[in-house]
Assembly symmetry: C2
Homo-oligomer: 348 residues x 2
DNA sequence: CTGAAAGCGCTTACAG
DNA sequence: CTGAAAGCGCTTACAG
């Protein structure tokens, strides 16, 4: 058992409150220099650290934050977590991590347990549209920030990127390359990124004067397998698409591998664009053109918004929206994968 | 502010302890059925959950565990974390995640902060040999389990795999394929996996009667860049190796991409074996032969050992060592990447 | 100026 | 049988 204030007080022969004041550097404390230095020596010797539990109970703050995500084995969320920890750790906060696997039930039960634990705030990246759990957080006045996805537009502090714009840029890129039959592997209509990226895709087509073909939009979800199945369906059409814009990189990876298996050349027979720019995107051959999402920065910024709320006691529903950036690689433009060209090394 | 026991007691007109007993289903509680049901209704209506902080202070347990790893963006550790959460969550524990980036200093400061927070136990996957932080955990009698790496052989509860054996199997695989100049991208001599895998590599050579060439062992560390640089050095030798066994997959990925850049064919000109079997290993072209490390199972098992300690109050220094398994892919054997063969799909 | 007391929100051994 | 009290380990407003 770690040493307590009372034990130290007994050893020095003063009141526990005096030890506490010395440990906390209370500026208003008048005390004889001799006693002070005796106490300080003992503090060092015993490596005294106040019991965070007791401190939390008294001060009504735990110095703990929570991050709730679908799955940390998805590199997007791993990077997000790192951003949060990098923002929170220097301020003395620890971070509890919870994975929901996309289940609203698991999300709800995690939030219940985090609330019982009295974490000081929650960063939530697993929300869906009109999410009861988020409404509950609002109603309970629990400091929170939504990341990447939102629940009810504008009602919560939010950090994300402009998904409509990202999807438009991606689709316009394909259009500019000459593609006219551009398919979309879509996300769920229950998730903001799914809805907005689909909207951006349709907007780009409309602006370009291309009539959207509903059969070219297939719901794949956010996983490789869904992307693969959706792509098989698209490629079996009589009038198959020449390009695919996928709601995220994993779905695009599914498209990528199906195309390869079928012996289609990328990008000549099929161009593919993803979303997120996970590390894997740069490793595929050819590399995957994608929309960059700054996950680590999301984490840093979300933490900043959260700590602002916690420290001010206010909930200014600030929205921080990053502008998306297209990363062009070999899955849309031949030769774009310069990093991989043998020439680069041969010059040595 | 969430509702407290006292507020509920005032509303019902009983003592707070009675509410507490009803909430905790105290079997020894005698109470009129009418009062009980009034209390139960109120509990439901207010969604009362005891303040975990106050509860923790009283009961001397926080229902919080901590996982300390080098970096969660490394898929090995992400999978490990999921294993821990999957083991801990059903038992009512939350899990704090801390990344050290391999810095002993950050590890130490994380442990200090976790201790102040009174987490019930720590799972540590970032330890190095003769780690002062681990000795401190032992001395403070803080329940802990080391994973994947150990500090002082046999002194702490440990979950890992047989690294000597894994390295031997990997090296023997290369030998059996006819390779005689087999290089090793080695880990640090301060980390158990580095030492043991190097030992296994040397043992396999010795048993096969191959004289080890010290110049064929290059310290790469555990990252891609180190693997790439080490490989460049190995390949620039006059008597270059025909095969490389890397201490982990990321180093092997570095070898893989250098070989490709130099126009070497894998496995014909250079065979490569990694360690860990991260998801990326199966995605490279050709696929990376590697030693499978069951990271998710590590997490589950480590949690089990940790909870055993916490619940029993003992520290039985149990060691759970998994037998490693070689996963053969195209980076050592032509045609091993069956999953990628077009034939698979063509039959549909 | 500084020590003693109250109180954060619980749980449970104990007294009435 | 059941209510009241003690106590987990802190911090800080308050009384002496």
């Amino acid at each position: 058992m770690p040493v307590t204030l009372k034990q130290l007080a007994d050893r020095v022969g003063v009141h526990p409150s005096t030890i506490s004041r010395v440990a906390n550097n209370d500026p208003g404390l008048r005390i004889s220099p001799a006693t002070r230095s005796r106490i300080e020596a003992l503090l060092r010797e015993t490596e005294y650290r106040p019991n965070g539990i007791a401190r939390g109970l008294k001060l009504q703050q735990t110095l703990a934050l929570a991050v709730v995500i679908p799955d940390v084995t998805n590199p997007l969320f791993a990077a997000l977590f790192r951003g949060v920890e990098d923002g929170a750790s220097p301020r003395g906060y620890n971070v509890v991590l919870c994975n929901t696997d996309g289940s609203p039930d698991r999300q709800r039960s995690h939030l219940a347990s985090l609330t019982a634990r009295r974490v000081d705030g929650v960063i939530l990246a697993s929300t869906f549209l009109r999410d009861p759990s988020v409404r509950w957080l609002r109603q309970q006045r629990i400091p929170h920030v939504l990341v990447n996805r939102f629940s009810d537009d504008g009602l919560d502090p939010f950090v994300g990127s402009d998904d409509v714009m990202g999807a438009k840029v991606a689709t316009q890129h394909l259009y500019a390359l000459g593609h006219r039959r551009i398919a979309h592997l879509a996300g769920q209509p229950t998730v903001s990124t799914g809805v907005l990226r689909r909207r951006g895709y349709l907007a780009a087509l409309a602006e370009a004067g291309v009539k959207a073909d509903p059969k070219l939009v297939v719901e794949s979800g956010y996983v490789e397998d869904g992307g693969a199945r959706g792509t098989e369906r698209l490629l079996s059409m009589r009038d198959r698409p020449t390009a695919i814009f996928a709601v995220n990189d994993m779905a695009a990876v599914g498209a990528h591998s199906v195309a390869r298996r079928l012996g289609l050349r990328i990008p000549d027979d099929l161009a593919v664009v993803g979303y997120n720019n996970i590390p894997l995107a740069g490793r595929l051959i050819p590399g995957l053109t994608t929309v960059h999402v700054p996950a680590h920065e999301f984490g840093i910024m979300a933490t900043r918004l959260l700590l602002e709320q916690i420290e001010s006691g206010q909930r200014p529903a600030r929205q921080v929206v990053f502008q998306p950036q297209l990363v062009v690689r070999g899955s849309t433009v031949v030769g774009a994968d310069v990093e991989l060209a043998p020439a680069a090394l041969m010059q040595e």
